[in-house]
């Protein structure tokens, strides 16, 4: 009887209460003032750019952190010309993309509704915002995030700007005993967890909810998450420490590394771990272009270090292993194993339909004859069709190939490498009768996007997309030994 009464009450209430506007970009409710993002403001108050602190002020006391942030992808999140071009195309295709992309690239601009689009600016249009909003993901953005709205998202997971903002004098971070003569401090466990980063590093299509960028999800179902390793443990420490974290699956605090110690704020106590704020990943293109140090002024602190850090990350994240077998007669096979040794997410991650990690393999014999080549860049900075590329193949609702996130309906092929996982690539080649040795060189390369995308976004020939050699391996094999191994193997099978 009691159950029936409950049901009777619940039913009419469900009819009366408005349903959340999941996946409906046009619906702006009090709960979703910046659709299709999931940004909310504490107290539902209106914000202005004056509510936010200039990061250069924060840098006066938190200079080590500012040095890391300045020139980072977070600092360039709004100004990044590749992003601006992609965002402009998105805006022209669907104006709701302004909020969708801007929610993570300029949280201040979106939450203050001050982003302006200039459609006639070359090449595809450009966005502007108040100076403090153009500073991207700055100190005051992250340190005034007071919670997550993951329970409001369409997929009930972090993502699509699922954060709660509460700008003001209280700055939140993961130190429980912090004191400051300049601002109030508040403890936030959220800031020390991957869940915090997941509010932006997990993006699903706002219309069809397809998971496009799955960095947080990839981590969540990885051995790193199982061992309590958070995004911050690798991306907020120098690369040499990140390598140790990945190899030992221990958090930086457990490594007892004196190099991590320091002052968190000017005049404050000595801390066991001081976090770098460059959040460096693999984007060596934009950090090279925009992270460049322009002068010796304090404002340029650290601007040239993020590129170097990104390259180091790329060069320590993966390994290659070769195995060669005779397949009968002159035919041989080399199997290349590519292992994701040290990324707590897939390789590559984020916009996997744009990112490219690929294998270049060159096989020669002792007489200098080239027996096989794959994955070498062509004269137009393009990759041959047979190249083994680790990325995702996206299509739109009509099944047509697309590189544009707002068009993606699904991935038809996902060839990314999970954390601590590996993938194989096989190459076949014939060895001439008179060859005594074969030499195999395999290289793994990375670039943020291919030349086609660069030409499309920035104009034909505007930039030549650089790539980074991540790792290489070179082995020489005596042909006779390969044949003998093959015969022995055949004998074993018989």
């Amino acid at each position: 009887m009691r159950s029936s009464i409950h049901c009777a009450w619940v039913f009419p209430i469900a009819l009366v209460l408005p349903l959340p506007a999941f996946g409906d970009p046009a619906a702006a409710t009090d709960d979703r003032r910046f659709p299709p993002t999931f940004i909310t403001i504490e107290g539902h108050r209106d914000l202005t750019p004056e509510d936010w602190k200039d990061p250069r002020l924060c840098g006066q006391c938190h200079t080590y952190q500012y040095e890391g942030w300045n020139g980072s992808m977070h600092s360039n999140a709004f100004r990044d010309p590749v992003f601006q071009a992609l965002w402009a195309l998105a805006e022209k295709a669907d104006p709701s993309m302004r909020n969708h992309c801007g929610g993570c690239h300029t949280p201040i601009g979106i939450s203050t509704d001050t982003v302006k689009f200039h459609p006639d600016e070359p090449l595809h249009g450009a966005f502007s915002a108040p100076e403090v909003a153009e500073m991207g993901v700055s100190c005051d953005v992250c340190h005034t995030i007071s919670g997550t709205n993951l329970q409001k998202t369409a997929v009930l997971e972090h993502g699509n700007s699922s954060y709660i903002l509460n700008p003001g004098n209280t700055k939140l971070a993961s130190l429980s005993d912090a004191e400051s003569p300049y601002h109030e401090t508040g403890y936030s466990d959220h800031h020390a967890k991957s869940d915090f980063c997941g509010n932006c590093h997990n993006i699903f299509h706002p219309g069809n909810n397809f998971p496009i960028e799955r960095t947080y999800d990839e981590w969540k179902y990885s051995i790193y998450a199982q061992n309590g390793i958070q995004c911050q443990d690798c991306h907020m420490v120098p690369v040499d420490i990140a390598v140790k974290v990945a190899d030992t699956l221990k958090r930086p605090e457990e490594l007892d590394e004196p190099s991590l110690e320091g002052f968190v704020g000017l005049g404050g106590p000595w801390r066991k771990v001081v976090h770098k704020h460059g959040f460096v990943g693999g984007n060596a293109v934009i950090t090279a272009v925009m992270g460049k140090k322009d002068s010796d002024s304090p404002e340029d602190l650290g601007r040239d270090s993020n590129y170097e850090e990104a390259v180091k990350r790329l060069q320590t994240v993966a390994s290659l292993k070769l195995a060669v077998t005779n397949q009968g007669g002159p035919l041989h096979q080399v199997k290349v194993r590519v292992t994701n040794e040290r990324a707590g997410h897939h390789l590559p991650t984020s916009l996997t339909e744009l990112r490219q990690i690929w294998l270049e393999v060159v096989i020669t014999d002792n007489k200098g004859r080239e027996l096989r080549r794959s994955g070498s860049l062509g004269p137009n900075n393009d990759l041959p069709k047979d190249t083994m590329i680790f990325n995702a193949h996206a299509v739109d609702a009509n099944g047509q190939d697309t590189h544009f996130p707002w068009e993606i309906a699904r991935f038809v092929d996902v060839n990314t490498i999970p954390p601590k996982g590996w993938k194989y690539a096989k190459y076949y080649f014939n060895v001439p009768d008179d060859a005594e040795e074969v030499k195999i060189i395999a290289k793994l390369h990375y670039r943020s996007f291919d030349q086609y995308i660069a030409d499309k976004l920035l104009g034909k020939g505007a930039v030549k997309v650089p790539s980074v050699e991540m790792v290489s391996v070179e082995e020489t094999y005596p042909v006779a030994a390969l044949k003998a191994a093959s015969l022995a193997d055949a004998g074993d099978h018989h």
Partner: protein, 221 residues
């Protein structure tokens, strides 16, 4: 044979008379061991070293200078003083007299000296001057935090890195700010003070100096 022996003895005697070359000192860096070393500074030993090294000639008997251009070091934050001594020795901070003064000091002796002077009572500011807005509020439009945000409400310094300003000699204070502004002094970590000073006019520096400075010495009056 006799000549050879004499020469050998002479060489040894000559070597023995050469003062021991002080060990090389690495540029200053904050670390756990640096903080431990600073904490190990002995006030009494530091007093003895100060006497021996004749620090009082410039800095006065108890760390309070007798002329307006020299530095008051009484009551200064020990870690800050220690850093300055290392910086003089490694020539990160340039000053001919101080370079000479610290050339034979060991790191432990520097820590002792820093502890000794930190334990002395600082000279009081002259007072009677309203704090300029830059001291209490700063000017965020110029990215300037209030002086007292970092240097303490009463200019007493903060933590390990931030020096006390209150009661500093006016001439030295003004000269230091100008040196930061003009880039003549560059041993401030991350260029923090160079940036601050670069934003200030001579008039503003004078106003800040007047607020923090000790009374002018008699010769100056």
């Amino acid at each position: 044979m006799k000549t050879t022996i004499t020469l050998a003895f002479g060489l040894l005697a000559a070597l023995a008379s050469v003062p021991a070359v002080p060990a090389e000192i690495a540029p200053f860096a904050w670390s756990r061991s640096t903080l431990d070393l600073i904490a190990s500074g002995d006030v009494t030993r530091g007093g003895e070293i100060a006497q021996k090294e004749k620090c009082q000639k410039c800095h006065g008997d108890a760390g309070i200078a007798e002329d307006d251009e020299s530095t008051n070091i009484a009551g200064q934050v020990a870690a800050y003083s220690f850093k300055q001594l290392v910086d003089y020795r490694t020539e990160v901070r340039e000053n001919r007299d101080m370079k000479k003064a610290v050339r034979s000091l060991s790191l432990q002796e520097m820590a002792d000296l820093a502890a000794h002077y930190a334990a002395q009572a600082p000279e009081a500011p002259a007072g009677g001057v309203e704090p300029p807005k830059l001291v209490t509020e700063g000017d965020e439009g110029r990215l300037l935090l209030a002086c007292n945000t970092c240097h303490g409400k009463n200019g007493e310094g903060m933590g390990f890195e931030v020096p006390a300003l209150a009661g500093q000699k006016g001439g030295h204070f003004d000269e230091t700010m100008s040196a930061f502004r003009d880039g003549d002094r560059g041993n401030d970590q991350f260029g923090r003070m160079r940036f601050v000073a670069s934003q200030l006019s001579p008039k503003e520096i004078a106003a800040i100096t007047a607020f923090y400075a000790a009374p002018p010495t008699e010769e100056e009056e």
